[in-house]
């Protein structure tokens, strides 16, 4: 029972439709790669996050069952690591680096400006669902401090105006 | 022998520690011969004396006036005793600290009145009374404290022991005589 065979029928556990099934493909592939062993949990959660954008509760249950990991353990791992999110992200994501070089270079001030200018703080999504703001511990781009990532694109030497401007554009208003 | 001068006060608390003090019962009469109460809810002095040997402070610091009081008391007391769990840990009064002051006031004044309340939480304001601190906190977070007497309330035996040691000119060691929540 431990190895072999496809995981339990996915669509039964996961809420809706074939779109979801397609998204599950990567998840299933990851689990199969590790023969559904429990230690694949973190890798699988990466896969879930990649294809769903966040860790959806039903998918977590599905993963728990497939890998035979207790539900609470799955939740514990999902909340222990900062890479994982239990909330759906906004349309766009903005990551501000708070590594030492970036902090010394003024990334704290950028976060302050975002709070004042756009009313968002780290870990939150704007009320219009357009932009999620995240803080990175270090992007490893210290030479470009302060650095940030806008929808996957690393940008260096940021300042508050630049960041506000980009976010304003995403949200459809001027700054 | 000169009497020890004593002040007692209660801040944000229930007065139970003072009651426990009275629970030393007949020893109160003995004590009256050796201790002079200069300031207390039990006597009529209106202002805190310039100096007392020992002050018992019951209660957490919950308002600006409490804060001012402990500063004065510290200033004018030889030995300051944090008297009971509220003074030592903020205890039950500290349970409000989980909520913002505005919420606590709103529950009591705006939300709990039965007729259609004329007051909403936005119009709530207070005057002529001391402002509330955001949290009720232990006395030693504001001033240095010499002796801690835990318990809710501290048992009368512990209080009696405190006095007998003080009268004997010793700094009492309260270890094992009482505990948090006793």
């Amino acid at each position: 029972m431990k190895d072999q065979g496809a995981p339990p029928e996915a669509s039964v556990q996961v809420s809706s439709k074939s779109v979801e099934d397609r998204r599950l493909r990567l998840v299933n592939r990851t689990m199969q790669l590790y023969r559904n062993e429990a230690h694949a949990l973190i890798e699988t959660l990466h896969a879930v996050q990649e294809s769903f954008g966040y860790l959806e509760e039903d998918v977590l249950k599905y993963v728990a069952r497939t890998l035979r990991v207790p539900l609470s353990r799955v939740y514990a791992v999902a909340t222990f690591y900062h890479s994982f999110s239990l909330k759906p992200p906004g349309e766009h994501t903005c990551v501000i680096c708070m590594g030492t070089a970036c902090y010394i270079g003024g990334s704290g001030a950028i976060l302050d400006a975002l709070r004042e200018g756009e009313g968002i703080v780290s870990g939150e999504t704007t009320s219009d669902g357009k932009v999620s703001l995240l803080v990175a511990r270090c992007l490893g781009s210290c030479g470009l401090a302060p650095a940030g990532v806008f929808d996957g694109e690393v940008t260096g030497k940021l300042d508050s105006e630049h960041v506000l401007e980009r976010i304003g554009r995403w949200r459809g208003h001027e700054h | 022998m000169a009497k020890i001068t004593l002040a007692t006060i209660w801040l944000d608390s229930c007065s139970g520690c003072h009651m426990s003090f009275l629970d030393i019962d007949e020893f109160l009469i003995d004590l009256a011969g050796q201790v002079e109460i200069l300031f207390s809810p039990l006597v009529d002095t209106k202002s805190f004396p310039d100096h007392v040997d020992v002050s018992l402070v019951e209660g957490a610091v919950g308002s600006e006036s409490d804060r001012e009081k402990v500063l004065t008391i510290r200033d004018r007391s030889g030995i300051l005793v944090s008297f009971g769990d509220c003074a030592v840990t903020a205890n039950v009064p500290g349970m409000r600290n989980r909520y913002p002051v505005a919420d606590v006031l709103a529950r009591a004044y705006a939300e709990n009145a039965c007729p259609a309340a004329a007051i909403s939480r936005d119009t709530l304001f207070f005057q002529e009374v001391p402002a509330l601190c955001p949290q009720a906190r232990p006395v030693h977070e504001f001033v240095p404290v010499d002796i801690f007497l835990t318990g809710c309330p501290p048992p009368p035996e512990a209080i009696l022991y405190l006095f007998s040691e003080l009268l004997a000119g010793r700094r009492p060691n309260m270890n094992g005589r009482t505990r948090f929540g006793a």
Partner: protein, 546 residues
């Protein structure tokens, strides 16, 4: 593959490269990529093809060229010319200047101390080879160390060589690598593991990222040698998910190495077999701690457990496990190729070899450097680093990340090695070096690091879980000018408690930034406490107290 095949591949690759008169190296490490080096490379390729120069001139994506401030960087390998801040619009000028006088306005002074003073072992291939082609690595003697080890040396001899080199772990604590390998080799058990810690967590450090992005095979080779020496047949690279490019290149490199047969079964036709898998970290600094890292590879939360037993005896899935970091493994191949004695000839008496540092902060030349151990801080900051920009005063250099300390000007002439750093209250750490000028408030810096440790504390042991929060609160009170007279004493008391009683290295070293700033920059604290004023003018008084 056998050793002859390896040489053959290297020869072919060499001669192929020599066929080009010009090789343009475009930096495609994350730093330069984010300044547009990807587009630049594309434009160069297109333009070369358009002009029909492609048999004569070749464009190559390479790893980090080091001087990240000046990106995008490119180098003309044969001419020894560096261009900095290159834009797509510069492409035709560059091509036209090939073979003639260089484009003056783009020239990056290669003679500057930044390049001159470096000694490159770990970074020897960085910026010179295409990290996505194993052949290029092989052309630079790549996998030669492994070949040598498995074919001509016994595992014990390999370990002896490593011990002879005096190499110490580059991950932070500086534990002698040979000793660590020995204990894993000696540990009983048929199954053993080798783990490469590539979860570079220090904010302000990016050496490991650069090495993995620029020269991933070097790490793979180092791990394979370690596997041979310790008797392990399975390796894991635990790499940060935040480094997508590094992950991609490592995966590609593993694929190539397996295909070529330098990984897998019967490597170089010997009985030695070794495989490597990639595991992604998920954003937890504490996973830099060995036992936490192991827990994470096992699919659990990265909470450290008390040691002993050490991973060398009781590691991944309870088997003896060797854990070294990226830079340590990267040192191994040349060390084996050239011998431990050669390596030991570099550096100081107790700290051998070179060290890669990530220079950042208030410094002219930010980027990656590699210098011999024992180079002075002054040389690094003012000579190689080019000093402090905008005429500001130097205030401190922070080494070792959140576990390190802030070193003041009075120690600038100190040689940088493990023991000297420890003497002043800091650590080597993984090699982050953040320079601060007079506009930094050291209380605020301490607060920054404590915030980091607080949110990275795993929460297992009480002193670290609550201690970091209490210390952070005090530092917030101080920077917010809300502190009381007892706060300094309480700060010192809590730091001492955490150092002495925390379960793992994170908690034990988390007070270091506070302790060093208290020691060397006490005035910054006192001014906040007594005068309610920030000496550096950096702290907003109204900063909220959490």
């Amino acid at each position: 593959m056998n050793i002859e095949d390896l040489h053959q591949i290297a020869r072919i690759e060499k001669s192929k490269q020599e066929g080009f008169q010009h090789q343009i190296h475009v930096c495609v490490a994350a730093g330069c990529l984010s300044c547009g080096s990807g587009q630049l490379k594309e434009a160069l390729e297109k333009e070369i093809a358009r002009r029909g120069l492609d048999t004569w001139c070749r464009v190559k994506g390479v790893g980090c060229l080091g001087l990240c401030t000046a990106g995008p960087l490119l180098s003309l390998e044969t001419a020894g010319i560096f261009y900095q801040g290159v834009k797509v619009s510069d492409v035709s000028d560059i091509l036209e200047a090939l073979g003639g006088a260089p484009v003056e306005r783009l020239i990056c002074p290669v003679n500057s101390a930044f390049f001159r003073r470096q000694v490159r072992i770990v970074l020897e291939n960085c910026g010179r080879i295409d990290p996505e082609r194993i052949e290029e690595y092989m052309a630079e003697s790549g996998y030669g160390g492994l070949a040598l080890a498995v074919s001509q040396m016994s595992p014990t001899e390999v370990i002896e060589e490593v011990s002879r080199s005096g190499l110490r772990g580059r991950g932070g604590a500086g534990f002698p690598t040979g000793l660590k390998w020995t204990s894993v080799a000696k540990a009983s058990g048929l199954t053993k593991f080798v783990i490469c810690n590539a979860d570079e967590g220090d904010p302000g450090a990016f050496m490991d990222r650069s090495v993995l992005e620029s020269d991933p095979h070097r790490v793979i080779e180092g791990m394979a040698i370690a596997g041979y020496a310790t008797g392990a047949s399975q390796g894991y690279i635990y790499v940060r998910a935040e480094y997508p490019l590094a992950v991609k290149r490592v995966r590609l490199a593993l694929f190539q190495a397996e295909r070529m047969g330098v990984l897998g079964n019967n490597i170089f036709n010997t009985s030695f077999s070794f495989n490597i898998k990639v595991r992604l970290g998920a954003g937890a600094f504490v996973c830099g701690e060995e036992t936490a890292l192991i827990a994470s590879i096992e699919g659990r939360m990265g909470r450290p457990r008390p040691r002993p037993p050490f991973p060398a005896e009781f590691g991944l899935w309870e088997h003896p496990t060797l854990i070294n970091n990226v830079e340590t493994f990267a040192n191994v191949p040349p060390l084996i190729r050239k011998g431990g004695r050669w390596f030991a000839g570099l550096g100081t008496e107790k700290s051998k070899g070179t060290k890669v540092f990530a220079l950042a902060g208030k410094i002219m030349n930010t980027g990656l450097i590699e210098v011999p151990m024992g180079t002075s801080l002054r040389d690094i900051v003012f000579d190689i680093g080019g000093g402090i920009p905008r005429g500001k005063e130097f205030k401190a250099v922070q080494t070792g990340g959140p576990s390190g300390g802030c070193i003041p000007g009075q120690f600038l002439d100190m040689p940088v090695d493990y023991d000297s750093l420890a003497k002043v209250g800091s650590i080597m750490g993984s090699g982050g070096m953040i320079v601060m000028d007079e506009s930094s408030c050291m209380v605020d810096v301490a607060r920054f690091f404590m915030e980091f440790c607080m949110s990275e504390s795993c929460g297992k042991c009480a002193p670290c879980r609550v201690g970091t929060r209490q210390i952070y609160d005090i530092l917030c009170r101080i920077t917010g000018n809300l502190s009381g007279p007892d706060d300094l004493a309480m700060l010192e008391d809590l730091c001492d408690l955490m150092k002495s009683t925390s379960l793992c290295g994170l908690g034990q070293s988390a007070p270091n930034p506070v302790l060093t700033t208290l020691r060397y920059f006490r005035d910054d604290y006192l001014s906040h406490i007594h005068d309610k004023r920030c000496l550096a003018g950096a702290c907003k008084a109204a900063r909220e107290v959490a």
